[in-house]
């Protein structure tokens, strides 16, 4: 079904989406979205939401299952504390993408802002994966506790760094793959860096396939450039701080 979001307050728009899901709609197309927040917030079920226009902050926050396709750019806080589901953005996105996300996938075609993947965590069967086609700013993967962050740096100018500074500050779980180079000063002190093993690359390929399918990319092309693997040096970065 189609919902015209033109001029709709976010509360009314989200109520319409919720009612549509409750009434059993499996595919919902939103037209003329223009900054409405919380689309897909707390939404559950086997449903696909296609967004034409730019959704506002906290898209898919607390979401548990649905797939959201954004045909243009996204804003801040996509997938905030998301439990399961998929968000695919055919453009750029803002800050704190995937904050405390516990499961599901977020695929961004273009660049993202600051603190992306902050405090992502995995638990049992849940394993969150965020793949960014472009570049990311500072504090990527801060406090990261689990899951996978992949930065591809496609279509970037030669003089632009693929990620900002303080990558993985406070990281104590999960993995980050970066397709490009890093200077030591860009890394948080809790992060180790190494070349991925052949098993790592095999695993990586599995995750990249779906991403590439969405954006019409060729996995082999993406793999042309070498990846770096970032891992937490310790799962207990802040032990031995206290007296008795």
């Amino acid at each position: 079904m189609k919902i015209d979001a033109n001029g709709l307050y976010y509360k009314d728009l989200n109520e319409k989406i919720y009612q549509a899901v409750v009434s059993g709609k499996r595919e919902i197309v939103l037209e003329n979205v223009n900054g409405q927040r919380y689309i897909g917030g707390g939404l559950r079920g086997d449903v696909k939401v296609v967004i034409n226009g730019v959704p506002g902050n906290d898209l898919a926050s607390f979401m548990d299952g649905p797939t959201i396709i954004v045909k243009s750019n996204g804003q801040d806080g996509i997938g905030n504390t998301m439990n399961a589901g998929r968000v695919v953005v055919y453009g750029d996105a803002g800050d704190i993408i995937g904050y405390s996300m516990r499961g599901g996938r977020i695929y961004i075609k273009g660049d993202v802002g600051y603190r992306v993947g902050i405090h992502m965590k995995s638990y049992k069967g849940s394993y969150p994966v965020v793949i960014i086609g472009g570049c990311a700013r500072d504090f990527l993967g801060e406090y990261m506790a689990g899951g996978l962050l992949i930065i591809l740096g496609l279509n970037r100018g030669d003089d632009l760094p693929i990620v900002g500074n303080y990558v993985g500050t406070g990281m104590h779980g999960g993995l980050i793959y970066i397709r490009g180079e890093l200077e030591d000063y860009q890394l948080g002190k809790e992060v180790g860096i190494e070349e991925p093993s052949s098993e790592d690359l095999e695993q990586l390929e599995g995750y990249l396939e779906e991403y590439c399918n969405y954006f019409g990319l060729n996995v082999e092309d993406v793999q042309q450039k070498p990846f770096l693997k970032l891992y937490p040096r310790s799962h207990r970065p802040y032990g031995r701080l206290y007296a008795y």
Partner: protein
């Protein structure tokens, strides 16, 4: 670890005449203070390990054990006290931050003890709560700016749509304590007691154990920066959601449950792998402003389809009034304020004892500010931080709070002797521990009973005091500062508290 050079805080006196060497103390002490010597058939006690929790003293069947403060004293020095010397010694040995549990124990002024209540004499006669109706029921949540009425064939009705309210039978709630910081038996006791007494308890930031979902209608679920255990069912499970920004024992710093405490059960509730550190960063990284806070409040409201009140908890700090105003304007349905004496399972001592302000001043400042701005009705105020008895509670309400959060008092009701060693995970009373040998000491049936008793006792006392003032509903006392008078306070204190000095009439 280097040999301890800090003198023992307590000494254990054992009356050999009374000791029957039954060894209960040896088996029970989690700190291994007592040991049995079979050759001499006697029990010895190593006072250096004693934390002063008095568990052995209570269990000893013959009353042979007395735990006393160690009378050994340093040379008297107002500056270099025993505490100061011992703290420096510990830090010189370890190079570590001093850690503690429970609330600030420094002798800052307790304003409650300088505030006196009014009572009726001759005019406006007092009310006997035993024989006349006395209303403690409290509704928390946003109240409308005005009520519009409509009349229909069925008679008059309220046209204004009211937001969801939390209904309390007494204006006392159990404050946030996570499963992890306290045992499941302690959580169950709090949940059942809240259910039985018609009030709410708070999960803290540790998620909700599956056995506790059935108490959801009496649960406030907390959302903190680490988002541990926060997911759709969790948000839906509670009667309300509380965003935790800060707590009185450690304003401005985050939480840190060390990996060794993340057992299988805790890991399921927090939804993190076993053995990993649970780090709650100090700030929510999606909140850098009141506008951002509004975004999270409404993200939670949206996720629960506007069915749950959403509140925000902050520590009482210098700027608490404008911050609270911002929180209300951000759309919170209640504001929880935690004063400097608020407790914790673990906090750096230097933070606990030096950061924040007393709750009395914070309540007065926030209530006044919200009134001045004409937005007091938009959110309820829940005050916390060291409430010791029913008179503290009633004074807080007269100062302007809607209800009060208690936690330390609730722990004491369950057996806690405030030894401040919660962070060690060795609580002999079975409260602040996950060790199955210790947790089974707290029987949830008994814990529930004692908590319900405490709420009943305080509620009866509040009714007595209300009746004495000639007031028959707690609603009528809220922010009624004329019922309070200060003794031994400075003009500035009185001005900040908004009360008159004792001796001054209306």
């Amino acid at each position: 670890m280097a040999k301890k050079t800090v003198p023992s805080e307590f000494i254990i006196e054992r009356d050999d005449e009374k000791c029957i060497t039954c060894q209960v103390c040896c088996r029970m002490c989690s700190n291994d203070v007592h040991t049995y010597d079979p050759e001499l058939d006697e029990v010895n006690s190593d006072s250096t390990k004693c934390v002063g929790c008095h568990f052995c003293e209570m269990l000893c069947p013959t009353g042979a054990i007395t735990v006393k403060r160690n009378p050994s004293e340093f040379k008297i020095n107002a500056n270099w006290t025993a505490r100061v010397i011992n703290d420096i010694t510990k830090q010189a040995e370890t190079g570590g931050v001093l850690l503690t549990g429970m609330g600030c124990d420094r002798p800052y002024p307790i304003y409650w003890d300088h505030i006196l209540l009014n009572a009726s004499q001759v005019t406006n006669p007092s009310i006997d709560p035993l024989r006349e109706p006395m209303e403690l029921r409290t509704y928390l949540g946003r109240k409308p700016d005005r009520i519009e009425l409509e009349s229909s064939d069925d008679g008059p009705g309220i046209k204004t749509q009211l937001g969801t309210q939390l209904k309390l039978e007494t204006p006392i709630l159990f404050s946030a304590m996570s499963y992890g910081s306290i045992s499941l038996n302690a959580c169950i006791s709090l949940a059942r007691a809240a259910t039985e007494a018609g009030t709410l308890y708070n999960t803290g930031e540790g998620g909700l154990h599956r056995d506790l979902y059935k108490y959801g209608q009496n649960t406030i679920v907390q959302v903190a920066s680490g988002r541990f255990g926060v997911h759709k069912e969790y948000l839906e499970a509670g009667a309300a959601i509380e965003i935790k920004i800060g707590q009185g024992a450690k304003p401005g710093i985050g939480g840190h449950l060390p990996g060794e405490k993340v057992s299988e059960e805790i890991s399921q509730t927090r939804m993190i792998p076993e053995g990993t550190d649970a780090l709650s960063p100090a700030p929510h990284h999606d909140i850098y402003s009141i506008e951002d806070l509004r975004q999270l409040i409404f993200a939670l409201k949206e996720a629960t389809r506007y069915r749950k009140p959403v509140g925000v908890k902050i520590a009482a700090v210098h700027n608490v009034a404008p911050i609270a105003s911002g929180i209300v304007r951000a759309g919170a349905d209640f504001v929880a304020i935690d004063g400097i004496r608020g407790g914790t399972g673990a906090a750096p001592t230097v933070i606990r004892d030096n950061v924040g302000i007393p709750i009395e001043l914070a309540i007065a400042a926030v209530d006044s500010r919200l009134r001045e701005e004409g937005i007091r009705n938009q959110a309820s105020i829940i005050a916390g931080g060291g409430f010791r008895n029913s008179s503290d509670v009633i004074k807080a309400i007269a100062l302007g709070a809607d209800a009060v959060y208690i936690a330390t008092a609730a722990l004491v009701a369950m057996g806690c002797h405030v030894c401040q060693k919660c962070y060690t995970g060795k609580c002999n009373w079975g409260i602040a521990t996950q060790d199955p040998y210790l947790t089974k000491r707290l029987n949830p049936e008994i814990g529930t009973r004692r908590l319900v008793n405490l709420l009943r006792a305080w509620s009866l006392e509040i009714k007595e005091m209300l009746g004495g003032m000639g007031i028959n509903a707690i609603e009528s006392l809220r922010g009624n500062r004329e019922q309070l008078r200060g003794v031994g306070l400075t003009d500035t204190d009185l001005k900040l508290l908004g009360i008159k000095p004792a001796g001054e009439a209306w």
